[in-house]
């Protein structure tokens, strides 16, 4: 058979592809290893330093492990709620807006999401509070969903639209249903882009969740705020270091998810 002869160009092309991806894969692996290590070392050092130094009464009020853990927990909860809501809203919406028919109103939704992201997060949070009077977790989570929707929505749509039309044609042509093509071809091939969008959204959410203290939502913003108002530098340091560390950790988790959930063979 000629399969052997034809195998030759195939082999060289394959190795070229693998070489290229192996370089990026290696840099990704390095980053995936060092990022959490760096986060743990830096955040741990700051917290240990703060807790073990001579604290006055005011500092002891906030700089104790239970308070730090509670505030961190609140911060993580806000981020979690926001990400779950964003995925639950943006992915199905993004899919729907790429279907023939609804795709005509896609610009409207994209414009709305753009608006959400363009508006300053603090403004959106405060306006939402003034308008609804809600306080606490939901007063932060709902405006933040609006604020972080765009990356996931846009990446879901782009991810599906960039799937080679001939694959969809081939899928339908051999008898897969429209839903079958969506589930087995379009969505898996869009997963890398959707995850990249989610990663961006999560980093945005974790960063802006520091504004939650404005509407009584808790979170690490409270440490920074307290430290600032009472001029307690150590409290500010701990709050800032934890917020940054959490953002980097979330970014790392996103990277891990991209690495593991992206289908093989889809570049």
């Amino acid at each position: 058979m000629t399969a052997v002869a034809e195998g030759l160009p195939g082999v060289s092309r394959t190795s070229a592809v693998e070489r290229k991806s192996s370089v990026t894969a290696r840099s990704d692996r390095v980053r995936l290893f060092f990022q959490p290590v760096a986060v743990i070392v830096i955040v741990g050092a700051v917290v240990v330093w703060a807790l073990s130094s001579d604290l006055n009464a005011n500092e002891q009020e906030t700089l104790n492990l239970p308070t730090i853990l509670t505030l961190t927990g609140q911060h993580i909860l806000i981020t979690l709620v926001v990400s779950v809501l964003v995925v639950a809203i943006a992915v199905p919406l993004g899919i729907a807006l790429t279907r023939p028919g609804p795709d005509r109103v896609a610009p409207v939704f994209l414009a709305l999401a753009n608006l959400g992201q363009a508006a300053p997060a603090l403004g959106v949070i405060v306006l939402f509070f003034l308008w609804t009077g809600i306080e606490g977790l939901w007063a932060v989570a709902i405006p933040l969903v609006f604020y972080t929707l765009l990356p996931v929505l846009r990446n879901t749509m782009v991810g599906i639209q960039q799937v080679d039309r001939s694959l969809i044609d081939a899928g339908r042509g051999i008898g897969m249903s429209a839903a079958g093509v969506l589930w087995r071809v379009e969505l898996p091939l869009a997963v890398p882009l959707i995850l990249a969008g989610l990663r961006t959204a999560l980093v945005l959410a974790v960063g802006t969740a520091t504004l939650a203290f404005f509407v009584n939502g808790g979170g690490l913003g409270e440490l920074i705020d307290t430290g600032y108002k009472l001029q307690l530098n150590s409290v500010m340091y701990v709050g800032a270091a934890l917020a940054i560390g959490l953002a980097l950790l979330v970014d790392w988790l996103g990277g891990v998810a991209e690495q593991w959930l992206s289908p093989k063979g889809a570049e």
Partner: protein, 393 residues
């Protein structure tokens, strides 16, 4: 007709006849129909090639058969069954579909790609696995090596083979192929075409093949439909009928220069009346003087020297025999020869290199006869005459 056609008469046919009656496709907001009142019968177990310029609607016409394009009006039946009033997905699972650049799913392995349609048809896993291996063998890819590869780890030609395997996996009676070999290099394309003909010889599917390459159409088609604007049928006939007698200027333009030379690729030496007694054949052990006498009596200039198994060795001229003791070093060796399986194109090549007459040999290399340029020209003239009255459409 040629022997090639008779071969297909006798082989197993698993294909189904496709009928299109007054099939029209009209897109909204356009005045002219994309395909206008298209009617054609595609015989079971044959390869019919739609050939025509880009944008003539040949792909649209083909895609209406599996309703990737929904006809606006008309009737399409496959194996007598109405194709337009059943579920489109069900219909397509019973029709093989191969497209340019194969359209393999990049995140599926070769085996998963081939298994898609059997999976949709809910075959059990064992049967699917066995079928995948069978299909990979059929298209010449070793299952052990390639089953778990991803499409991007294959060459273009290998991807195309997987594409054909996927199209054939559920053993559909009908196969639609939309320029499947358009994106591979010429050598691989030639190989894939040969492979398809071999497969078709085994399987006897009804194949509708779309291409803009007329030579590909001549090579693959049992019948060729030359299509013009809005998919109007300019000519629908066998390749040799179209080559011999293009129905109009459009077809002639598409056939292009060298129609007679292309014709020669369709005919084989066994199909033409080559000379079987027009040469003086002598044994290599004969005495040269005896041979010279024989030639003088027959009033001929050349003799053909054979070995003990009747295989042609040398051409000798009467003048070259004087004073020789053996025939084995007289004259010049036979260079290019042809067999009864050779195409007339090969024969013409041999005639030209041998200087006017080429030796025709049988399966074991034994002399059967000779062929000269007048045989070739007579055949071409004959074919043209046969098809001059319009032939059968």
């Amino acid at each position: 007709m040629t022997v090639a056609m008779e071969d297909t008469e006798t082989k197993a046919v698993s294909g189904a006849e496709i009928r299109l009656e007054n099939v029209t496709k009209r897109y909204p907001n356009t005045k002219a129909a994309a395909v206008d009142e298209f009617s054609m019968v595609i015989p079971a177990g044959r390869i019919v090639v739609f050939v025509g310029p880009s944008g003539c609607g040949k792909t649209t016409t083909m895609r209406m058969i599996n309703r990737m394009v929904e006809p606006t009006s008309g009737v399409i039946t496959i194996g007598g069954k109405d194709a337009l009033h059943i579920d489109a997905d069900e219909l397509r699972r019973g029709i093989g579909y191969a497209i340019q650049q194969a359209g393999l799913f990049p995140h599926f392995t070769v085996a998963q790609n081939i298994a898609v349609v059997p999976g949709l048809l809910k075959w059990d896993k064992k049967k699917i696995d066995a079928r995948v291996d069978e299909m990979m063998d059929l298209v010449g890819l070793d299952p052990g090596t390639f089953r778990h590869r991803l499409p991007r780890q294959l060459s273009g030609g290998q991807q195309q083979r997987v594409g054909v395997a996927r199209a054939l996996a559920a053993d559909p009676p009908v196969l639609l192929m939309d320029e499947p070999f358009g994106a591979v290099d010429p050598i691989t394309r030639g190989n894939l075409q040969d492979e398809l003909l071999r497969l078709q010889n085994e399987l006897g599917k009804t194949i509708v093949f779309v291409t803009h390459d007329f030579d590909e159409a001549v090579k693959l088609g049992d019948k060729i439909a030359v299509l013009g604007d809005r998919s109007t049928i300019q000519q629908y006939d066998t390749p040799d009928a179209i080559l011999a007698n293009p129905a109009n200027d459009t077809v002639a333009g598409f056939v292009g220069a060298g129609a007679s030379l292309k014709q020669l690729t369709l005919l084989r030496v066994r199909d033409v009346p080559f000379d079987t007694d027009n040469v003086i054949a002598v044994d290599h052990g004969d005495a040269p003087a005896q041979v010279a006498e024989k030639l003088r009596l027959a009033d001929r200039a050349y003799a053909l020297v054979l070995d003990e198994r009747q295989r042609p060795l040398r051409w000798v001229h009467r003048r070259e025999l004087a004073g020789r003791t053996s025939l084995l070093d007289a004259g010049k060796p036979v260079g290019d020869s042809v067999t009864t399986q050779s195409t007339l194109q090969d024969a013409l090549e041999a005639i030209l290199t041998e200087g006017g007459r080429a030796v025709v040999t049988g399966a074991r290399g034994e002399l059967i006869g000779t062929i000269d340029i007048s045989t070739v020209t007579d055949v071409i003239a004959n074919v043209r005459e046969t098809h001059a009255d319009g032939g059968s459409a």
